[in-house]
Symmetry: D2
Subunit: 438 residues, 4 copies
């Protein structure tokens, strides 16, 4: 929190636009390096499943992003650090040529961690030089693409955390990323679960989405702002908790197909799901693998690391449903984005204090599965070229998540943000809240 | 057409409701038997991929549907034909107990084809007895569930055709289901492609979906009728043709990822797609495998047997998009449902004559992929029990198709109908038309 | 037995060599047709796993064998029944061009069963004509290749039985191929297991294999007859029984890796083996699926449908080992080949009466896994051309089985015969006996 | 060479048996550490396929071997370095409890490389203490098990090299393990291929295998020494070269199934084999990936990194065959084991100078595939307990290789040594020589 405020102060006091860009660049890039500080170079090259990327790959890929989208286009005479990195660290941009297969990212001991740091330094220096020396007439465009780069890097900051959590979970030694920051002292009472409140919304013809003429950044997928018609509904005041979810398990939720989507039940059977990812029962007690290692389950915590299928099955079992993204956004817009107070310190999703007058836990706890497939908004057009591949080509077979998690940088969170993952994904910090028809 | 009219006449002249039910029952069940007449018992047990079911399985499963949803519930003292069929011919109803695994349906040489006919006779007789003898107060409820059974059987009539087409396509001998009914005489000019027309719609707050209080049947997934907001748009007057699609292929459509959804491109690469299903090039000329065997491609025919991915890639390449299901329904409601004039006679999708004043080819040519994921309508609730599994549990990872194909029974087609398949499915009679923002 | 004797009489009384060939041709080809008599055309097109071929395919493939190896080469002016069958019914002969993929044999409803019968008739007529009209100087060569065709057809006679047994086992209705021929009358005592006897052999430098200059037929893989050195050993007088194998199961044989080969244990774990194929426990009692349907396990029967891995694990658990093929052949040569007395009537392996003076159950009960990998004998050379693919190219990753089973035609059995299957195969009539070092 | 001689001198001058053991222990364990010196910790945790283990795993597993087979049994009061390592670093010993799944060895960033070094130090110190302090009457037994540990470690020394070569080959940067030690100076003529000579052997009743009463170490699988009968044969004087193998490729060897075993051809088709592993064509010229990076193919080098299938196909194409292991051993016994002169320096298999009077390149160039399946020798019995799992349970589906490669420690090579790998394995330093019947 202190850091975030300091950030605001610094930006506010920056003498001019160029300097503000410089400071933001250094801060965003620096945070990434800070995030990997607890990790050894060995930790940073493991790919525990195809969805996961090694930390070192994230470090290089975010750097490559600035190289191809900023330096190659705007920095005259820029020399690539290593021509071969274009192949190695392109994630999925077909417009930018062929690339190293995703499932083989864990085979790259070289370039070494040291070399990737030098790559970062090289690109950082060139970017800073560019920001300071670019002609005035280039500055607007440069600011836009750099801002995209900052947001891109912030997305990978979260992925670094979700991915290393999965990596460590696959190691029988169950290493911890951090020591528990907020472990309750022994014999201290754990905060009890706040009672659920329900908030009503009359719906009607409303607007959602990001206004592209705004100065604030948003992704193309959040545009255009548009009308949509919402039926009257009720919206849960807080997230579903581990304790509530445990009741679903105890009621046989994972052995009765009736509340499951057909594809979801198929996953339960083939993947042998018995509980959320990272839950394990030891001597009859549920333990959860967290960024701080294995800890006893805390009933009042929001349930996390569930798939859309599990969220939907729980909702059906509870006689409710998940909110649509429009329903979510209508409430989200009324809430102040408090963000992640702990600046990655509190990676175990925690129960935030109740905000008296409206729904809470909307930002910075867990990503919230919605009932909405990730489809283009009416009137959406992907921009031409490689940047158009950023979001548009994924608009199929994915569900929208809203809100932002404890691993999301606080200044990356906003009410219109559309995160998306396939309905079976569980390794993100994903939970859910309930809704119902009025 | 004659048959359809005869049908209408018969129903109109039926002395009473019971007799109308009897006639409808006999007609629907009889059509299924007629459909399989060109097939040998050997043809009817092949399962060419997990999605496909053997014809014999369809014959037994539709019978089982009447047995469990009608006879077991309403026919006092009904004795099951064979207790073991409940396991063998349950498709996906978890509420009705365990069942034979879908991918193993092709391993069942027994019960023999003869025995399945006897099963049909047994259930038919019991249903007709029930219709004639049920107490008056049961008649409304009985009519509802029988009507569901009729519609269910009609769905499987179409599947029998799509499935046997796939089965035959896997046989190097390429057998034909029928002799070509409308093969142009040699040296006759083939109808040239009608020019594309575009129709505008101002959109706004509209209503779509089926009104459940209507007397006409619809599936639960078409309800409730509800408001939705539609932006102004243009709607193509006819389907995309084989000739147009061939241009996409010739332009390198299957070797350039830029117009494809990410999941779609993955299918192109792993499945080695080079053209729609059933197209094959011989000596430089495209041939298409049809219900009448292999025939030269006709440019003016609607393109068929494409996946949603291919439809979306074509649309992107053409600078357009697919219509949403609401956009489709707004035009669909204005068209008279002419249905499938050929009553399964013309299974190769053909160019129907242009209907001057509005879009055409909307019903009875090919199912049309829309841009809409198959999600529950606002306020949708699946009914309790097994019947609730009919549609609701599939509302994830599927796309909506509208209109009805040349294989769809004409009285099964309506403007609110929501067909659905996964975006990679190609063995249905699926094509598409274009739309664009106004 | 009667039939076999009649066969001998017929051959003995045949007026000349041509007529003997004619009679043998008709008898072998006729037996195949007799074997499929209990099956419907529907039964005959199922492929329950890639290793299994549909009955109809066997009927056509054995016919194709005579067409390509006999008629195409020796019958001047022979016209193929259908040119496309060369592609459909070639099994694995690369020298004879491309072929239909093995795992897709179950997709062929066409050619129909009737057409395959006409194919057989067509080829039979042409072969008989050739035998009767071939020039005298061709007769020796023709006899050789026809004899290969007879032996080939006999191999497929056994496969027809093993394959249909697997097909039926995959059907929850568990159909029977035949009514039990030798079901003990109720309340009759079942033959108790004969005590195991051990026979010693001093080994030394011995000869095994078939002498190619013999007039009797043998496969190339049985040649050349050659010296090999055998250490002194003991040889079990009878096969391991179901009762003995049950003790291995009860002792935890399938849950303790210590007696298993590494690859075998891997199969146990991935295939979830708990008992021989076709064994199932119902209400605490072992049942076995046989050609006559499901029957209670008979302790004194030879254990059957075990893999090499299971045979080797049992042997290790029992403190013994499997015999090598040389060790087997030394005893096999001293036994009269009694063959399969029941002529396919007794397909459930049965306990044959004890033959006082030597090991018994060596021929016509179950194929016996040996400890010998299927390798070429010293000096073996595969013949040139397609016929060279018959055996030689399979001499890797397979184990030798000796003896012949209750499904093997009696005149196809001999002491030098080398059957072979991969060590994990279980759907053949395969059992084993024990040996040990002296 | 110098080092090896120094070794001999050291051992010869050691004051006593204990000191000789100490020196051998330090030398063997020290060599392992030397081998990994060119690698970063990041290099050492990659598992590029399930067959490959990370270097760090090899370092820990060989240490674990001494811990469980030596310290836990003989060192009173020994405290395990970390109790959890028994699970992590057990390779395949079922007798020693459950273990980490082999395909997941590449997921272990922890324990760190440093910690594994401390593990080695801990075990080394305890072993040395034990050697020096063990009671006299324990010394014989201790020597035996330590010797097994030395040989085990030497096997893993070779695997460290073959595995890291595969790891590096999967990295598009193609890193080198070493700088080329013996790169010919530019414009120097490359040694031309020595002409093939053939040596005859009359065969007969011979003895092969290791005499267990010998003082020299051998593995259980090399025993017992036993009689076998060998037919007269010819044996090639040198290995098949890259140039010769290239002719096979140019003659269409990889596109014609006729010379291939059936399983081999299946590998060619499914794995898309076109040449030996590590060969790649650039601008029409063959390049080979070596421990020194990518280098042009040298025709006179022995062909290496071929599977048994490729060796057998080449031999068939050349009208010869592979020698059996007995045929190989008869010549191997007559050759002085010169071993690997370069002590891991010359990891690219090289053409050694022709040894005038007999076959050459028998030791220390490439492992030579033989025609012999890896079966137990007559009379073989695996020892009881975990040590019995060392070899015996792999005696199925593997082929014997003889001789030793440029990556094999010279004092680990002997004429009776039976190396074994599945017939499709290519990542070992495996080549072959030809033989034929006389």
């Amino acid at each position: 929190m202190l850091e975030a405020m300091q950030d605001v102060i610094e930006l506010a006091t920056a003498p001019n636009a160029r300097e503000r860009l410089v400071r933001r660049f250094m801060r965003v890039r620096g945070r990434t390096v800070g995030l990997v500080a607890p990790l050894t170079p060995e930790d940073q090259i493991i790919q525990s499943m195809p969805d996961v990327s090694p930390t070192k790959w994230h470090l290089a890929h975010t750097t490559w992003f600035f190289e191809v989208f900023v330096l190659n286009r705007y920095a005259q005479g820029y020399t690539a650090f290593d021509e071969r990195f274009g192949f190695l660290f392109n994630s999925y941009y077909n417009n930018l040529g062929s690339r190293h297969p995703r499932p083989q990212r864990g085979l790259l001991s070289r370039p070494s961690w040291d070399e990737v740091q030098r790559y970062r330094d090289h690109v950082n220096a060139a970017c800073l030089r560019l920001i300071r020396q670019a002609p005035d007439e280039m500055l607007d465009e440069l600011t836009k693409v750099l801002t995209l780069g900052f947001n891109h890097e912030q997305q990978h900051q979260e992925l670094i955390l979700t991915d290393i959590k999965h990596v460590f979970s696959c190691n029988p030694l169950l290493p911890a990323y951090q020591t528990a920051p907020n472990q309750p002292a022994p014999n201290q009472p754990v905060a009890s679960t706040a009672p659920q409140k329900w908030f009503e919304n009359a719906g009607g013809l409303v607007e959602i989405g990001c206004d592209a003429t705004d100065t604030a950044f948003c992704f193309d997928s959040e545009t255009p702002r548009h009308h949509t018609y919402v039926q009257p509904y009720r919206f849960a005041g807080r997230l579903v908790t581990c304790g509530e979810y445990r009741e679903f398990i105890d009621a046989g939720g994972y052995s009765d197909p009736r509340h499951w989507l057909s594809d979801g039940w198929n996953e339960v059977e083939t993947q042998q799901w018995k509980a959320p990812l990272y839950w394990q029962k030891q001597h009859g007690e549920w333990q959860v693998f967290t960024m701080s290692g294995l800890r006893p389950l805390v009933d009042s915590d929001p349930v996390c690391h569930v798939s859309f299928y599990e969220a939907a099955a729980y909702a059906s079992w509870a006689g409710k449903r998940l909110p649509t993204e429009a329903e979510w956004e209508l409430f989200g817009r009324t809430q102040r984005v408090e963000g992640n107070l702990l600046e990655y310190g509190g990676l175990h999703p925690t129960a935030s204090p109740c905000a008296g007058m409206g729904p809470w836990q909307m930002f910075g706890d867990v990503w919230e599965w919605t009932a909405s497939p990730y489809s283009p908004y009416p009137g959406f057009k992907a921009p031409p070229g490689a940047v158009g591949e950023y979001n548009g080509k994924f608009m199929c077979n994915q569900m929208v998540l809203r809100g932002g998690s404890c691993a999301t940088p606080s200044d990356h969170i906003r009410a219109t943000y559309r995160n998306f993952f396939p309905p079976g994904a569980r390794w993100q910090f994903s939970g859910f809240r309930l809704a119902e028809d009025l």
